[in-house]
């Protein structure tokens, strides 16, 4: 561990961390924006569920490096390439959990909302989504932690946040950047996970003491 290197490269480390956070945040956001309407369609028309699950599942199983290489001819060594790739990886988990969360809303509760005069949109946002929230957030947590690890791979196409520290360490045969990159990556995953747990706790006072 060479602390002098850490101090003299603190700018580079901070920039790598910020880029890492940015890539994770944006890919989760885009992933959610795609998975959410898709999940609504699959809940409304159950026949869509199987095919949607198959497609997002196939995307999840493509080796990450292969995916980035596949995208390169279209988007080059840009942030778009890594964002598209990372976003595709979040889809399966987010889609599956949003569908499960919405399906988990008791038909009796849904019927009550209808009978009391909720419009379909209001029913979705005021009743079904809040009740589905714990399952949806569980999905976001898994997706976030998965993506935080995966971002490092995008260093190979010139992106990669903390992954760049790995490459630096590897090319210089120098352990400090590797250790820093690893520790920050783990710390980020733990922080994000805890933050999501805390957020869910605040948003679902009704869940406390249920089990």
């Amino acid at each position: 561990m060479n602390w002098d290197w850490v101090v003299s490269n603190s700018h580079q480390i901070t920039a790598a961390l910020l880029q890492h956070v940015q890539l994770v945040g944006l890919s989760l956001l885009f992933g959610f924006l795609i998975a959410f309407p898709l999940a609504l369609l699959a809940v409304r028309w159950p026949r869509l569920y199987g095919p949607s699950l198959a497609i997002t599942g196939v995307m999840f199983t493509i080796p990450s490096l292969a995916l980035f290489i596949l995208l390169m001819p279209f988007t080059g060594l840009s942030m778009a390439t890594s964002l598209i790739g990372l976003t595709l990886y979040t889809l399966l988990i987010l889609f599956r959990n949003i569908v499960q969360g919405l399906r988990g809303v008791s038909p009796i509760v849904r019927e009550a909302a209808r009978a009391l005069g909720y419009t379909p949109a209001r029913r979705l946002f005021a009743v079904e989504l809040p009740i589905a929230l714990p399952v949806i957030v569980a999905g976001i947590r898994i997706a976030a932690v998965t993506i935080i690890g995966m971002v490092t791979v995008t260093a190979l196409i010139g992106q990669g946040g903390l992954g760049q520290l790995f490459i630096t360490g590897f090319t210089l045969s120098f352990a400090t950047p590797l250790i820093i990159g690893f520790m920050l990556s783990v710390a980020l995953a733990v922080t994000v996970d805890l933050a999501l747990v805390g957020l869910l706790y605040c948003l679902t006072p009704w869940q406390r003491g249920v089990h």
Partner: protein
């Protein structure tokens, strides 16, 4: 009083003269599902405003579908359904539902909302201001007999009976003229159910809504309904009448079967003792002496005598066997009297009377006025005659 009873009753009286705004009229209503099953077939039925109508029948008889067509949870396949003069199919379904209270079998409360927020659902949908909603919720919590402290809790923290009360409060929140109830008491245990039914009846006496309730329980139907509609399989109406008329003049064998073998006992439950002529009976004051009591009995040819205390409350039955061997000069209250285990008042029903008679000494039962004074006796023969 939250629901301004006087005002409402005046309104209803005027309504009756003109046209009831909350009467529900089925005109040849049919419900056919896409697979061809007919749930309800050309139903003609008028549910009067301000009354509690119970829809009852075996499962699959279309009673629930009938209920659900009123607030358009089910769409009509044919015929017309009018509320007041308004065809429900001409009204926006969402707006219609906000004007009709709905209570479900399993309370159907929103698990993520507090009790207060659950009750406030319809007023919020209707855009009431916050102050008005808060006041209304407080009124309703009291009206349905909930502890105020529960208002901030969540549904899963309440018992089944409490949840059912919240469900009722939620349905009544915007003071709708019509209340639909789908097996509202079926999911609570029998003791709580009986209690909720009683409370619900007294609530209905105060609020006088047009209520339509579905149940599969004929006892509940007879107990709660001003009128009962009995459905037969395939959505056909077998009979629509008051409970008393259903028992005394059933329209078909199906109705007789459905009401059950204990139809006669049910009839007894619907009639009160003051509808009978009491027998004066043979009585003696407690300070009477044995010799005189004996001669009363011999003259009347009775097997015993009702002994009364100084307030004319019955002390017990004195039978011939006991009198026969007693000392002539003894006061009759020094002899072993047989007390009655039950007390019967003029406002009790004939079913309670029969129950009391089964264990009554001397096979007669004294009947009391509200002050507990003796009025006369009844025996089983009178009840039997009443039924035939």
């Amino acid at each position: 009083m939250p629901l301004t009873d006087d005002h409402r009753q005046r309104d209803r009286a005027e309504d009756r003269d003109t046209h009831d705004s909350s009467a529900i009229v089925f005109e040849g209503v049919t419900k056919r599902y896409s697979d061809g099953t007919v749930a309800v077939e050309s139903l003609d039925l008028t549910l009067p405003a301000g009354e509690l109508t119970v829809l009852v029948g075996p499962s699959g008889c279309g009673k629930t579908t009938t209920l659900r067509m009123i607030n358009r949870l089910e769409t009509l396949s044919g015929g017309r359904l009018l509320i007041g003069n308004r065809d429900v199919m001409s009204v926006d379904a969402t707006l219609l539902r906000r004007q009709i209270g709905y209570v479900m079998q399993h309370s159907g409360l929103f698990p993520h909302k507090t009790i207060a927020d659950n009750i406030a659902v319809v007023p919020r949908l209707l855009g009431w201001d916050k102050k008005r909603i808060r006041e209304r919720v407080a009124e309703l919590v009291e009206l349905v007999g909930l502890d105020e402290a529960l208002a901030k809790r969540y549904p899963h923290q309440l018992s089944g009976g409490q949840q059912q009360r919240v469900g009722l409060a939620r349905a009544l929140a915007a003071d709708p003229p019509i209340l639909l109830m789908d097996e509202p008491f079926a999911a609570v245990d029998p003791i709580v159910r009986a209690h909720l039914q009683e409370e619900f009846l007294s609530l209905q006496r105060r609020v006088q809504k047009t209520i339509v309730m579905v149940t599969h329980d004929i006892d509940e139907a007879m107990k709660l309904g001003d009128r009962v509609a009995i459905f037969a399989q395939g959505g056909k109406l077998a009979q629509f009448d008051t409970p008393a008329r259903l028992l005394s003049a059933p329209a078909s064998d199906f109705v007789i079967d459905f009401i059950g073998a204990d139809r006669e006992l049910r009839r007894l439950a619907l009639e009160r003792l003051d509808s009978l002529e009491l027998d004066a009976g043979l009585t003696a004051p407690r300070d009477e002496i044995v010799a005189r009591a004996r001669s009363y009995l011999q003259q009347a040819g009775s097997s015993g005598i009702v002994v009364l205390d100084e307030h004319r409350a019955p002390l017990g039955w004195l039978d011939w066997e006991t009198l026969k061997h007693a000392d002539d000069r003894a006061r009759i209250d020094s002899l072993p009297l047989k007390p009655w285990r039950h007390r019967l008042y003029m406002h009790d029903n004939l079913r309670s009377a029969l129950n009391a008679l089964i264990s009554a000494p001397g096979e007669v039962m004294p009947v009391l006025n509200d002050q507990g004074r003796y009025l006369g006796v009844i025996d089983q023969l009178q009840l039997t005659r009443r039924l035939s």
